[in-house]
Symmetry: C2
Amino acid sequence: MSRTASMSAPVLPIRGRLRPLGLGDVRITGGFWAERQSVNAVASLAHIEYWLEREGWIRNFDLAAGGDADIAQARRGREFSDSEIYKLLEAMAWEIGRTGDEGIESRFRSIVERVAAAQEPDGYLNTKFGRPGQEPRWSDLEWGHELYCVGHLLQAAVARARTRPGADDGLVEVARRAANNVCETFGPDGIDGLCGHAGIETALVEFARVTEDDRYLAQAALFVDRRGHGRLSDVEFGREYFQDERPVRHATVLRGHAVRANYLAAGAADVAVELKDASLLDAVRTQWQNAVARRTYVTGGQGSRHQDEAFGEDWVLPPDRAYSETCAGIGSVMVAWRLLLADGDPRYADLIERTLFNVVSTSPSADGRSFFYTNTLHRRELGTLPDADKPSLRAAASLRAPWFEVSCCPTNVARTLASLTAYVATSDDEGLQLHQYMPGTVTHRRADGRDLRVSVVTGYPYDGEIRVRIHKDETESDSDDPWSLSLRVPGWATEGATLTVAGETRPVEPGVVTERRTWQRGDEVVLCLPMAPRFTYPHARIDAVRGCVAVERGPLVYALESVDVPGIETVDELRVDTSQAPRLVDGQVTVRCEHVRADENAEQARGWPYWTGPNGSAPVADEVLDEVPLVEYHAWANRGPSTMRVWLPTTA
Amino acid sequence: MSRTASMSAPVLPIRGRLRPLGLGDVRITGGFWAERQSVNAVASLAHIEYWLEREGWIRNFDLAAGGDADIAQARRGREFSDSEIYKLLEAMAWEIGRTGDEGIESRFRSIVERVAAAQEPDGYLNTKFGRPGQEPRWSDLEWGHELYCVGHLLQAAVARARTRPGADDGLVEVARRAANNVCETFGPDGIDGLCGHAGIETALVEFARVTEDDRYLAQAALFVDRRGHGRLSDVEFGREYFQDERPVRHATVLRGHAVRANYLAAGAADVAVELKDASLLDAVRTQWQNAVARRTYVTGGQGSRHQDEAFGEDWVLPPDRAYSETCAGIGSVMVAWRLLLADGDPRYADLIERTLFNVVSTSPSADGRSFFYTNTLHRRELGTLPDADKPSLRAAASLRAPWFEVSCCPTNVARTLASLTAYVATSDDEGLQLHQYMPGTVTHRRADGRDLRVSVVTGYPYDGEIRVRIHKDETESDSDDPWSLSLRVPGWATEGATLTVAGETRPVEPGVVTERRTWQRGDEVVLCLPMAPRFTYPHARIDAVRGCVAVERGPLVYALESVDVPGIETVDELRVDTSQAPRLVDGQVTVRCEHVRADENAEQARGWPYWTGPNGSAPVADEVLDEVPLVEYHAWANRGPSTMRVWLPTTA
C-alpha cells in the first residue's frame, strides 16, 4: 500500500494545496470537542447499536444470510436501513483507530461477521432486494438506495483499512466484492444508470485510494458523468431532487435534496482531484460558493424545505421549520474539507467551523442518546417530549428523539465525531496549518523524517486566546530549518484580532496568517480573537428574516429560548433593542428586549390580521427587560419543551 | 319531499339566522363572475371529462363493472380518483340546473350509467378496493379515501335531486344504496372507524336533508363524534393531519391538512345545526375565528405547508411557497357559508368574497383549461411551462397545468363556479340580504306567495357603485307591506362608504346596512364603496412578511409580476415607496418603487450573506420607478413565466 493508503484519515486525495494529517497526529485533550468525542464513544455508539438491533435492522442481514423464505415480509426498516449498520461500522472503525477500545473492536467484528454472511456469491449485498418475494436488484434506482448502501459499506471498509491495515475481520474484502459487483453491473457495458441518492461516488474514489485500484475511480467518474441527463424518472419533487436535471459540470449551485447535493459535490470533487479535471473541480467550487452565499443558514445549516428535504431557491431561508438536516450539515463539512485540501482557502474552514459548532453539535443531546434530525432556527410552540421508547415517525421532532423511522443522523453524527480530529490541521511542504482550535497537540512527521510538533492551549470557543507552543524532542537541535506555522483568522473576526509572536503583537485580518521561522523549543504564537458578542444582520434579499438580527459570539450562534424568560408565554413576544450591544453578564450573553403582548393589542380583536394603514399593526411594548439571557444554539432544547428563535425582531 | 329538499341550492339547513335562495332565484347577467361561469360551462367541464377519460379514471368503473380479473393491475389513478368523477357529476348537475344544457345532460347520464354499473349488490361502490387482487374494503381508513369518495357521490346526488327532482337517471338511488352500505358498515354496531379525509359528514347531512331520512344524519353525527380520539394510526404528519388528535368540540382552531380541516368543520356545522348542538356549533365558530385571525393569507388562502398540505402554527404564513391549496379555499367558502346561514355575521361573507376573488378565481386560467393547485404569494424563479399534454406530477407547478396526478382542484373549481349564485343572497322573515355584488337579479318567493325582487347594476369589483333597484310585476301594488333590504358593507371599506336611499346619502361602516320600507316600483338603493387602491400592513406576529406591504383595491389583492417591469431581472429587486399611496393610472393600479440590484452591491462579493453591523446589508437604490403597474393577483401567470410577489418590501 502507498503512504497515503495506510494513513488514518477520512479523505486522502492524491494532490492538492494542503495535505491531511492522520487522525493519530492530532490529539484533543479537553474542551468542547473532547467532551463530545467522549460522549460519542461512551454513549452514542452503544445507543445506536441497541436501536439497530431492537429495530431489527442488523437482523435483516441474518435473515438474508439464512435464506429466509419470508424475508420480504420479515425484513424491517426502510430501503436504506443497511446503510445505518455500515455507518455504525465506520464510526466504530474510527473510534477503534482513535482509542484502540477493545470492547468496540469486539462488537465491530461481530457485526461485520453478520454483514459478511449476507453477501451473495457474486458480491451483491443488500437485504432489501433480489431475493424471492423481493423486488429485483436494481429495479428502483430512483428510490431503492442500493448503490448508496454500497457506498456506506465502502466508507466503513476505508475507515477500517486506514485504522487497522491488514486486520483479519474481512470487511475490506466484503467491500471489494461489493464494489466489483457494482463495477461489473454499472460499468461502461453494464446498466446505464445511477443511484437516486449520491454517495457511492466519493466512496468509490476513497476505496480506489485505499486499494490503489483505479477501476473504482473510473466507475465513480462514470457515475458523476451520468448524472444530470434525466436517466432517473421524473418524480413529484422533480429530477432536481436527485441532481439529475443538469450535468454536474454545468450546475452553478447546490440544489435539490440537500444531503444528496452535498454527497454528490464531495464525490465530484474527489473525482476531479484524482483525474486532474479542472473544469469539474471548478464547477464544484462555484456550486459551493453560490450555495454558501445564498442558500445557507447563519448556523451553516443547509436545506430549507420539509417536503423534499431540499435546498430552496436563492434567498429562501425561513427560520421557522428550517429543515437544516443534520446530515446535510455533515455533507457540507465533507465538501468544504475536500475544497480546503484542494485550494487552501480559509473560507472553507470557516464554514466547517460554523457547521460543526452550530449544526453537527446541535443534533445530539448532552448525553448522546437523542438527536435532532432537523435543526430549526425558530420553534413557535412548546411541542412535546418524544416517546423515549419509540422511534420518531417524524424528522421534525419538537425535541431530540432517541431514534427515527429514517434514522440517518445518529450514525452520521457518530462517524463524524469519531473522525473529528481530521479537520483540525493539515500540512504542506512549508509546514503546518491549524484550521480549527481546540486544546491538544498536533504532530506531523515530514517526508524527511523530521517531526513538526505543536500544542494548543485555549478555552476556545469561550475564550479568544489561542496559544500555540512549539515542541521539540530533547534530541532535536534548536537550529533546524525554518518552517511555516499558519493560523486561520475566522471570517467573523473582522475587528480586533491580534497575533503575538516573540513578544510582538500585531493586528490581523480574517484569512490566514503565516509565521515562517526557525522555531525554538517553547516558542509561542498567540492568536487573540475578539470575543465580544455581536449582532448579525441578514442580507436584504433574505425575506424571511427582514427586520431581525441574530446574536453571535465567536463561532457560536445564540438563541432566545423561552425557558430562560420565565413569565413570557412565547419568545415571539420579545423584540430586541439593537441600540444596546449584546453584553456578557456573569459569562452569559444577554440582550435588552421589549416585551410586546401583541395578542392583547386591540387590533387583534378585529379578527383579521391585515390592516389599511401601518398604525394598526404597531405593537405596544409592555415592559423592558434589560438582561435577557441567550443560550448557545447548539445547546437549546436540553431543558425540556421551549419556544426558541435565532432571528430576533428588532424594536426599530 | 319537503320544501327545502326540492330547492336548488347546495346547502339547505333546517334552521339558521338566514335562509339560502335557490340557484334559480339569482341570475348573474354580466361581469367578473358571469364570464367565469360561462368559461366553466363551455370549456372546463369538457376539459375535465376529456382528462378523466384519457387518464382512465372513468374507465376504472367499466373495469369494476365488467368484473375484470386484472383490475388490481389495470386500474389507473390514485386511491381517490373515483371522487373526481363524482365532483364532475356534481358540477354538471348544478350546470344543468342553471342552464338546462341538453348536451351536458346527455354526458351526465352517460357517466352515471357507467358509475352505477360498478356498484356491488350490497351498495359498496369504489373501484380501488375489495375485488380479487385488490386490498380488502375498509382496510386502509387512514389513506384509502373510501368514505371520502362516497361523500362526493352523495354530493353529486344531492345536486341532482335538487336540480332535477325525480329524474330517472338513477344517481340518487345509487347514492342511497352506497349511503345505506356506509350506515350498515360504520353504524353503532359496525366498524368503530372513520375516514382519514373528512367529507362524508357534510355529504351525509345533505343527503339526509334531500331524502328526509335521519339515519344519514345520525351516521354523520357519529363520524364527527368519533374523530379526535386517535382511532386512526399515527402517521409521519401526526394525527393532527386528519384532525384525529383532538375531539372536534374541543379543538379551538383549524389545523392539519387544510382541505380535511375545512371539510370536517363544514360537516360539524351541518350536524350541529340539524341537531341543535349549540356547543358543537360554537366550537366550529371558534375554530373559524382563530384560523381567520392567525392562519389565513391576505388572499383568503389557507394552508402554508407543502409537506402535508397543512395549516402551519399560528402566524406561519410564508408567502414564498405558500401552499394555499385551491381546494382548501373552496372548503373555507363551504365553512363560512354554513356559519353565515347560521349566524348572519357579515364577516363570513367578507371571507367568502375575498376567497372567491383571490383563491377560487386564481386557480383556472382565462380559458378554463389549466389550473393552479397551489396558490403561492411569491414566485422567485421564472419556472417553466408545464407540458400541456401530461398531467403534472407536482401540486406546485410554476404555471397553471392542464391536469394533475392528484387532480382535485379542477373538479372542485367546476362545481363551485356552477353553483356560485348560491352565495349571492339570502332571505329571512324580514326580507332579502345581498352578500356578494354582481350584475343581475335576485327574486325570492316568500312563504306568503309574495315575490321580493331586485336587480343589481354594478361594475364591481372595478367600480364601487352598487345600484339595487326594486322590481315589481304590473299586478303588484306599490303599497304592500314593508320589507327589509340588507346590504353587506365589506370589512375592507373602513372609510368613505356611503348609502343613498331616496336621494339621501349617508356614511356607512363595515357590517350590514338594512333599509326597511314599503318599497315602490323603481326604488333604488345605492351603495358606494371606496375604490382607491390601498396599502395593507400585516400583523406584527407574521414574521414572514415583516417590513412589507400588500396592495389591495376593493376585494382584490394585487401582485407585482415581472412581465410588467421589463428590464428588471426579478421583482425581488424592487422596493415600494409607501410615502406615496398606490395610484390608478389609466385604470391600472400602480406604485412607486426603488430598484435595488442587491446582487451587485459590494457586500455580496464577500460570499456570506450575514454581517456584523447593519450597514453591510443596506441596499443602494439604482433608480426610482414612478408608476410600476400591478396585476390583479387572480390574473397573474396568464402571460407566461414570471416572478411575482404580493408582499412588497418597503423602502423604509
